[in-house]
Symmetry: C2
Subunit: 92 residues, 2 copies
């Protein structure tokens, strides 16, 4: 058994309303950030799961998404490795 | 002016309690998914911003994170390009 560290990104489907994103878009406009044409907000879930192989780990996490983590009507999800080069960030 | 599509990932800081992640961890255990050692939940914000250069776009988005999008006490953020090869996912 190996522990696999995966990242799930759950996003509102394209074309569906995203009221949280709209609210944040307006808030950023009010704070003086112009030039925004899109703000959409989803969830990021970091998960560590024990499995015999990576493909088994991904299958498990995909099943979790279908059963609990993503709303099949309103959200899409992707599963990726937890390694990404950041352009900026860190402590906020 | 070019429109830059960036992705912000806002996560609870390591070591800080993440009650939402803990609740989802328990829910997944109850649904019959064993072998989970970590579940932590953050936000993913897709943003399209007009700027003269990529570095200006990143600087703008970093300022948005510090002013509104991330809680400086409890959260860290990273800013990345919106392009990632998915291991699995799509329509949930």
């Amino acid at each position: 058994m190996t522990t696999y560290h995966l990242e799930i990104r759950v996003r509102p489907r394209p074309g569906l309303l995203d009221p949280e994103g709209t609210a944040v878009h307006h808030a950023l406009d009010s704070l003086g950030f112009p030039g925004l044409s899109e703000v959409r907000i989803g969830k990021i879930i970091d998960i560590a799961v024990d499995a015999e192989s990576e493909s088994e780990a991904v299958d498990l996490v995909e099943a979790m998404c279908r059963k609990l983590l993503a709303n099949p009507i309103t959200e899409d999800f992707t599963i990726v490795h937890r390694t990404d080069p950041a352009l900026a960030g860190g402590a906020s």
